[in-house]
């Protein structure tokens, strides 16, 4: 009871008794007592105000609990008498609540739970942008980072960039994902070491002895979880690195690394450090994070950053002018969950729809059941419950069902969450922090109570019990026409929702199908690709690199299992970096660097195009002519040729990547290749021959048996350099399948929910038709006795049963249009109102609905007409 209500009741009780005492006192005065005697007697006769108040309160309080207990017992007894109904209701609700709970637990773990860093809400990502150049994220150069770090008063800033180095000295040479960070990176994040120490300021001095911090998983796997690991020395980049500490097992941001090192230990950054005096944007690979200082807000930090950006722009006009340059801060939480949020919300919306369908199904079942036990309910009402009391009793019953469904749903969710968490691991690093915990249980129970009330209200309100009529009439009370209409409306609603879900699933499935049919521009069969990231300190110049590959390629080609071998810069669909460069065309000088066109730069061996079946459009491919001494040549992709020259004019043009110091001649045009992802357009690409420079780290092998090819590659590399790691070996068919995987999983999830919704709806329709037919047994018997054929009767029943389905379908199609609009970002090559998907969904629904109507209809016609007519 609300506190206001209780206060009011107390005040009223007080006033009521005060009135009594005054009246009694007045009466006593009238009888001749003295005033205080009169009042004293009045109070004594009452027996004291407080005891009376207490007794009145007891009457009200005890009664409420007592009533609830009675309702509960009655409800349980009643449910025990209808086990089929109870089982059907609990199962249906369990499906709906289970799905919703599973999604909720994911949301709680990923979106709602606090960040595992101290005061995580104060952590931000800082980003530069150059809006005029369409650059949303302009990574920081060393100079820029220093400028902001030294000037910012609202934020403590740290830098981070990611490298992959080779770690030697612990068995096989290993590639380690390395986070190169400011010394106080972990302090800013608020992460303490599990063992040893983090970095200290002296670690960042030029020339300091290199140190390492290990991530927890890496420490467990490669250092055997040794707590005394501090002091171990390993070799990286031709220097000895001493391990000083181990991180605790928390999710790492921005990505999972194996080890961390301070900024001065990264040779590439060191090179950038050396050249930053002349080159303002030397080594622009940094990501910057920060923590808000106490007492400041995100808005204040944003303002300060904007001001600093403006100052930098005026100090270095040659770099930043007219670029739309600016800097802003973004909360870290959003970064971690950004990718997963839309997916999670979509799933939540879907499961809520399923839950709604489940509720309306159970409401339908309840309506039918209440009609069957109208007499029992009427008796209850007559025994003094009143309309509200009766409604309360049936609500208690439905809440019991709801909570039972919720408990069963938790069991279902428990199984499903694991699967879903693995799926979401692709979108966010937080997926492993998901589990069925207290929050989830609470949610499931609340959902149970909520759904119980929701589906219980419908029948409760519908109960217009005319007691006398029911009690005295005997069998069926009303003809239940309004009752039946309500049930049909519920069915129509379910159909609409199911249609919406089916349409959504259909759209996603069509997208997946379209995606898998996309021609990436290259072959994928029988091709294995592996990564050979050369140790840059060892292969420091072009000569050494060429020597290595000059030995590797022939060795690979000599192997009998290898049909073709080639080298390239990146593997398609492998989600790697791209080397995007600005270029100039001879004869078309462009002063402003910002306005220069861009391309993706690749280096390839001569057999590359042939191996991958990339077609030659015109001109020639690379061959042995194009060695280091020959004039620089290039092959461009079709899109580049068309965009800048037209296909006929491209051959012979000259391009420069370094502002005109060296020029390459275009000797060939090849087909476009999708390397980013299947649903983005292929980029303008320029290929250089390996011998003439460029950066490769991928080896491609084509042959009959992919498993053997992997081993062949490893052995060939180690024969040349035993310390050279080879990793990420997989087939191109695998990479292609994996790139579609997220969409496929989403489509499958939606399909699963849609199927569940369809099943529930079909069951609901079935029960309504069966019930209606049961009501009309006499009529059907009459018709058949009068000569109607069975098919006619079935058709009549089906037609009437399909009426709400038709309405529901139309409404559902409208809903599907909305859902399609919401799904637009996930669809590929399929419009949100794609007719084939909608049609397929509608057809499925119609087919299922017809079956759900036909079965009970046919069963009804099988009844002996004579027996049917005899029904009282």
């Amino acid at each position: 009871m609300s506190r206001g209500g209780r206060g009011r009741r107390e005040a009223e009780l007080d006033e009521e008794l005060r009135f009594h005492v005054e009246m009694a006192t007045a009466e006593n005065l009238r009888r001749g007592m003295a005033p205080d005697e009169a009042r004293r007697r009045a109070l004594a006769d009452l027996g004291g105000v407080e005891p009376v108040k207490e007794a009145c309160r007891d009457e009200r309080r005890g009664s409420r609990l007592e009533a609830l207990g009675r309702d509960l017992r009655w409800g349980l007894r009643s449910l025990r008498r209808s086990p089929a109904y109870a089982a059907a209701a609990v199962l249906t609700l369990a499906l709906g609540i289970g799905a919703t709970t599973a999604i909720f637990s994911l949301i709680a773990g990923i979106l709602l739970a606090p960040l595992p860093y101290r005061d995580g809400e104060d952590l931000v990502v800082v980003r530069q942008h150059a809006t005029r150049l369409d650059i949303e994220n302009l990574q920081f150069a060393i100079n820029e980072f220093y400028d902001y770090r030294d000037a910012a008063r609202t934020l403590d800033l740290v830098e981070h960039h990611s490298m992959t180095f080779t770690l030697l000295g612990r068995g096989e040479p290993k590639r380690v994902s390395t986070g190169v960070v400011s010394w106080h990176f972990f302090d800013v994040l608020g992460v303490g070491m599990l063992h040893g120490r983090g970095f200290q300021p002296s670690d960042e001095n030029a020339g300091a002895e290199p140190v390492l911090v290990l991530s927890h998983p890496y420490w467990l796997e490669h250092f055997a979880g040794d707590p005394e690991v501090a002091g171990t020395v390993v070799e990286m980049n031709d220097k000895s690195h001493t391990v000083v500490g181990v991180l605790p097992p928390i999710p790492q941001f921005p990505q999972e690394h194996d080890v961390y090192m301070p900024t001065v230990a990264c040779p590439f950054r060191a090179a950038g450090e050396a050249s930053r005096v002349e080159n303002r944007r030397a080594f622009s690979n940094l990501t910057v994070f920060g923590r808000l200082r106490p007492g400041t807000s995100l808005a204040a930090a944003d303002r300060e950053l904007a001001g600093l950006a403006a100052r930098l722009e005026s100090e270095h006009p040659d770099v930043y002018a007219d670029a739309g340059y600016g800097t802003a801060a973004f909360p870290l939480r959003g970064e971690l969950t950004e990718n997963a949020r839309p997916m999670l919300l979509l799933l939540l919306a879907t499961t809520l729809l399923v839950l709604l369908i489940a509720c309306s199904n159970v409401a339908n079942l309840t309506l039918a059941r209440n009609l069957r036990r109208e007499r029992e309910l009427a008796v209850r009402a007559a025994m003094g419950a009143g309309r509200w009391g009766l409604a309360r009793q049936t609500l208690v019953e439905s809440v019991v069902l709801g909570v039972s469904g919720g408990l069963l749903g938790i069991a279902l969710a428990y199984g499903g969450v694991d699967l879903l968490a693995r799926f979401l691991g692709r979108f966010t690093p937080r997926a492993d922090s998901v589990a069925v915990d207290g929050w989830t249980l609470g949610f499931a129970l609340a959902a149970g109570v909520g759904t119980g009330i929701a589906f219980g209200l419908v029948p409760a309100f519908w109960q217009r019990l005319d007691l006398a009529r029911v009690l005295h009439q005997g069998a069926r009370s009303s003809d239940g026409r309004g009752h039946r209409r309500l049930r049909l409306v519920l069915v129509g609603g379910q159909v609409a929702l199911a249609m919406t879900l089916l349409a959504g699933a259909g759209l996603m499935l069509r997208s997946v199908q379209a995606l898998s049919e996309v021609d990436p521009g290259y072959a994928t069969e029988d091709i294995v690709v592996g990564r050979i990231p050369l140790n840059w300190s060892k292969y420091a110049d072009q000569e050494a690199v060429s020597a290595f590959y000059g030995r590797l390629l022939p060795a690979l080609e000599a192997d009998p299992g290898v049909a073709q071998a080639a080298l390239g810069t990146i593997a398609p669909l492998a989600d790697e970096f791209t080397l995007t460069r600005r270029f100039t065309i001879e004869g078309r000088p462009v002063d402003d660097e910002a306005l220069q066109p861009q391309l993706d730069q690749r280096a390839v061996s001569t057999g590359f195009f042939h191996l991958l079946d990339i077609p030659l459009v015109t001109g020639r491919l690379f061959d042995l002519r194009d060695d280091a001494a020959a004039p620089p040549v290039a092959i461009v992709s079709r899109s580049l040729a068309e965009r800048h020259f037209g296909l006929d004019e491209a051959l012979g043009q000259r391009l420069s990547l370094d502002g005109g110091d060296t020029w390459m001649t275009v000797v060939g045009i090849v087909g476009d290749v999708r390397t980013g992802s299947l649903d983005t357009a292929p980029a303008d690409t320029l290929y250089q021959p390996l011998a003439q420079g460029g950066f490769v780290q991928r080896a491609f092998l084509r042959g009959r048996q992919p498993e053997r090819l992997a081993e062949t590659l490893r052995q060939a590399v180690w024969a040349i350099d035993p310390e050279q790691p080879v990793d990420d070996i997989r087939t191109l068919t695998e990479t292609r399948r994996e790139s579609i995987a997220p969409r496929r999983t989403t489509a499958l999830l939606l399909g699963l929910f849609a199927a569940v919704a369809l099943a529930i709806t079909a069951a609901g329709l079935f029960s309504v038709v069966a019930y209606t037919v049961g009501q009309r047994t006499r009529e059907i018997g009459l018709r058949m006795a009068l000569g109607a054929r069975r098919e006619e009767v079935v058709r009549m029943v089906v037609r009437q049963g399909l009426a709400p389905v038709a309405v529901g379908l139309v409404v559902g199609l409208v809903g599907a249009a909305f859902l399609g609009a919401g799904l637009r970002d996930y669809l590929f090559a399929v419009g949100p109102r794609d007719p084939s998907a909608l049609l397929a969904g509608a057809a499925t629904l119609l087919a299922v609905a017809i079956v759900a109507c036909v079965v009970p209809a046919r069963r009804a016609t099988r009844v002996d007409p004579v027996r049917a007519l005899r029904v009282d």
Partner: protein
């Protein structure tokens, strides 16, 4: 004759209250007075049990309450019968009547007493 303590006959108290309220709506004090008067001073309601009884009857939905001004211009809580209360009163009266007849039948002087 000593005033009978109606505490022992809680069911009877309920019935009497309903009967009083059948005639006209009344506040708690008035109900007690009316019962006293109509029973010619025989039945004196223990006031301490009257109010809990009224609250119980209200909770059961047989009477409902409304605040109004009394005859001496004070605010008082008036009770009146609900439809359910009318029905209840009829049932109670009927079963009371049957009980009274049954008791009277047993106590009939067909044979000599003592």
């Amino acid at each position: 004759m000593p005033a009978h303590n109606l505490d022992l006959l809680q069911g009877s108290l309920d019935m009497l209250v309903l009967r009083v309220l059948e005639l006209e709506p009344m506040h708690g004090w008035g109900i007690g007075e009316r019962i006293r008067q109509r029973s010619r001073e025989v039945l004196q309601v223990t006031q301490g049990s009257l109010y809990p009884a009224l609250h119980r009857l209200e909770r059961k939905g047989w009477i409902e309450a409304e605040w109004a001004t009394s005859e001496n211009n004070r605010r008082a809580k008036y009770y009146k019968l609900t439809r359910a209360g009318h029905r209840r009163l009829a049932e109670e009266a009927e079963s009371w009547r049957r009980m009274v007849e049954a008791v009277a039948a047993v106590m009939q002087p067909t044979e000599a007493l003592s």
